[in-house]
C-alpha cells in the first residue's frame, strides 16, 4: 500500500506530461477534421518529422560543442522552433500535394492517399537518416539541465524535463486557443469549418484557411515530436504510429473537431495510461503488467465510439447540407 501512495505524484506528473503530448498531437487531427471532416493519417509522421529535426539540431549542436554552453531555455526554444517549422511546412506540403487535388473526390480517396503519405514519409525519414548517420534509431542527447530532478515531496522527485514538457505544452495550447477563439483569423477558420461556401462569400480565402489549419496542426505535432524526444529519448521513423493512434483516440474521446476536447481527451488518456502502466502489476500481484497499458487506450476508443461517438465535449455532429 505504501508504495502505491509513494509513487503517486511521480505517476501523476508522468501521466500529465504524456497527456499533454497526446493533446498536442491530437490538435492536428482534430483541427483538420473540424475543417474538412477528414482524418489526416499522415499526421503521426508529421509528428515524427518534428522529433527528427529536433534530434538533428541537438546532435549538431553537440558536435559543435555548444550543447552545454547555450542557455537551456534558449536551447529548448530553438529545438521547438525547428521541429515546429519542419512539421508545419511538411503538413502544408502534404495538404497541397496529396489532399487538395482530391478534395472533390469521395471521402475514402483522400484517406487512402493519407495512408500512402504516411508510409512514404516513414521511408523517406528512414532513408535520409540511414544515408546521413548510418542509423535510423536515434536518441536525443541528454541535456544535463533538463535531467535535474526536482524534489516534489520528501520522498518524490521528478525530472525537470517532465515539468518542462507540461509547461511548454500548456503554453502552446493556451496560445492556440486564443488564436482560434479570439482573433479574426481564428474566427475565419471556424467559419470555414462550418460552411465553406458561405465563408467564401464573406471574402475568406477558403483554400488558405485550410492550408493554415494544416500548418498550425502540423506545427503543434512537431512541437509534440520534440517534447517526445526530450522526454523519452529514443525515436525511430516508426515511432509515430502508436502515439498517433492514441492522440487520435484522445481527439475522439474529447469530441473530434473540438479543440478543448482534444486537450481534455489527451490528458485523460495520458493519466489513465500512466496509472495503468505503474499500478496494474502492483494491484494484480504481477498478473498483468505495464505491457497491457495500450489496451486501455484502445478499449476507450471502442467504448467511446459505441456509447458516446460525439465524445466527452462534442456536440452531435450535424451533416452539412
Amino acid at each position: 500500500m505504501d508504495i502505491l501512495i509513494a509513487i503517486f505524484p511521480q505517476v501523476l506528473v508522468d501521466g500529465i506530461a504524456l497527456g499533454f503530448m497526446y493533446a498536442l498531437i491530437a490538435l492536428g487531427y482534430t483541427m483538420v477534421y473540424g475543417v474538412l471532416t477528414f482524418i489526416n493519417f499522415a499526421h503521426s509522421e508529421i509528428f515524427v518529422a518534428g522529433a527528427f529535426v529536433g534530434v538533428e539540431v541537438l546532435l549538431t549542436l553537440q558536435a559543435w560543442g555548444l550543447l552545454q554552453d547555450l542557455h537551456p531555455v534558449l536551447l529548448l526554444l530553438l529545438v521547438l522552433l525547428a521541429g515546429m517549422t519542419m512539421s508545419g511546412v511538411l503538413a502544408l506540403a502534404v495538404e497541397r500535394v496529396a489532399y487538395r487535388p482530391l478534395r472533390a473526390a469521395p471521402r475514402l480517396v483522400p484517406l487512402i492517399s493519407a495512408i500512402g503519405v504516411s508510409f512514404f514519409l516513414q521511408d523517406v525519414i528512414r532513408f535520409g537518416e540511414s544515408l546521413w548517420r548510418n542509423a535510423f534509431y536515434l536518441t536525443y542527447p541528454s541535456i544535463p539541465f533538463f535531467d535535474q530532478r526536482i524534489q516534489l515531496t520528501a520522498f518524490v522527485d521528478v525530472p525537470l524535463k517532465s515539468l518542462v514538457v507540461i509547461v511548454a505544452a500548456i503554453l502552446m495550447l493556451v496560445g492556440l486557443n486564443l488564436l482560434v477563439h479570439r482573433t479574426k483569423i481564428g474566427t475565419a477558420i471556424r467559419a470555414v469549418a462550418e460552411d465553406q461556401a458561405t465563408a467564401s462569400l464573406m471574402g475568406i480565402d477558403v483554400d488558405r484557411m485550410i492550408a493554415l489549419t494544416f500548418l498550425i496542426g502540423g506545427a503543434m505535432g512537431g512541437a509534440a515530436g520534440v517534447l517526445f524526444g526530450i522526454q523519452y529519448s529514443l525515436i525511430t521513423p516508426y515511432t509515430g504510429f502508436i502515439p498517433g493512434i492514441k492522440a487520435f483516440t484522445a481527439a475522439v474521446l474529447g469530441g473530434i473537431g473540438n479543440i478543448p476536447g482534444a486537450m481534455v481527451g489527451g490528458v485523460v488518456l495520458g493519466l489513465l495510461e500512466a496509472f495503468a502502466a505503474s499500478y496494474l502489476s502492483l494491484l494484480t500481484g504481477g498478473a498483468f503488467g505495464a505491457e497491457y497499458k495500450d489496451i486501455f487506450a484502445f478499449s476507450i476508443l471502442i467504448l467511446i465510439l459505441v456509447f458516446r461517438p460525439q465524445g466527452l465535449l462534442g456536440e452531435v455532429v450535424r451533416e452539412r447540407a
Binding site: 474566427t187 461556401a197 462569400l201 464573406m202 480565402d205
Partner: protein
C-alpha cells in the same frame, strides 16, 4: 456596373440557365422575379463566383469576374447574402458580423456595426449569443446585417424578407432603399414581387432559365402578365 452576358450554367449535366443577360447600373436597385426553380438563385451564385458559367461573361466595373474565386469577387466589392440565411451557427452574433466585414481593410467596422445595430436592436442585445440559438427571424436579421457589414458597392440579396414578420419586412425594404440611397447598388431577388417592384428601379422576369421580360419597375408593376403571374391579381 454589372454586366451579365449570355451566361449558361449547368448543375452537372443539367442546364439551369440558358443564356441570361442582364445589366445593373451604378446606383440602381434591380429586381429579379420568377417562379420557384426559374434560376434566380443560380444567377446570383454565378455572379458571386459560387458557380462557374460554361459560356458567357460577367463583368463588374469593367473587369471580368466569371473566372474569379468568390473571395476575390468579394474583395472587388460585391457582397452576396445567400438564400436561406446560411449564418454560422456555431459563431456568436458578433463573430458573424465580423465575418461579414472580413474583406474590409479600412476602419469602417465600428460605423457599419453601429448601422446594423440601429437597424436591428435585437442583434445588439444578443451579440454574445451563439447564432444557432437565435429564432428564425433573428437569424434572418443576422444574415442581412452580416451582408451590410461588408458595405459593398454591389449587394446581391436572395429573398431577404423570407420568414420575417410583416412589420420587419417593411423595415427590411426601407433599409434596402436607405443603403441604396447611400450609394450601394442592389440586385434583389424576392418572392414578394410587389414589394420588390415598389422599391426597384428596374426588373427582370426569369422563366426556366431564360429572361422573358424586362423593364422599368413602374411598367412591370402594371404589366398584365406580371400582375397575373407574380402579383396574384
Amino acid at each position: 456596373m454589372l454586366e451579365v452576358e449570355g451566361i449558361h450554367v449547368y448543375y452537372g449535366a443539367i442546364p439551369a440557365l440558358h443564356g441570361i443577360s442582364l445589366r445593373v447600373g451604378r446606383g440602381e436597385i434591380v429586381t429579379l422575379l420568377g417562379n420557384n426553380g426559374a434560376g434566380k438563385t443560380t444567377t446570383l451564385k454565378s455572379i458571386s463566383g459560387l458557380l462557374r458559367p460554361h459560356e458567357g461573361q460577367i463583368r463588374f466595373e469593367g473587369m471580368r469576374i466569371d473566372r474569379l474565386p468568390p473571395h476575390r469577387i468579394v474583395a472587388a466589392g460585391v457582397a452576396h447574402a445567400p438564400e436561406g440565411r446560411r449564418i454560422f451557427n456555431r459563431l456568436t452574433v458578433l463573430e458573424n458580423l465580423e465575418m461579414g466585414a472580413y474583406a474590409r481593410t479600412d476602419d469602417s467596422f465600428a460605423e457599419n456595426l453601429e448601422r446594423v445595430f440601429t437597424l436591428f436592436p435585437r442583434l445588439k442585445e444578443r451579440r454574445r449569443q451563439v447564432a444557432g440559438t437565435l429564432s428564425g427571424g433573428e437569424q434572418q436579421m443576422l444574415a442581412i446585417g452580416r451582408a451590410l457589414m461588408a458595405h459593398p458597392r454591389l449587394l446581391l440579396l436572395d429573398e431577404p424578407s423570407m420568414g420575417l414578420a410583416p412589420l420587419l419586412v417593411d423595415q427590411i425594404f426601407d433599409t434596402i432603399r436607405d443603403i441604396n440611397s447611400q450609394g450601394t447598388t442592389v440586385l434583389l431577388v424576392e418572392q414578394n414581387a410587389y414589394m420588390a417592384l415598389s422599391i426597384a428601379h428596374r426588373g427582370y422576369v426569369l422563366e426556366t432559365g431564360r429572361i422573358v421580360l424586362e423593364g422599368k419597375a413602374q411598367d412591370l408593376i402594371v404589366n398584365e402578365e406580371v400582375r397575373k403571374a407574380y402579383l396574384g391579381m
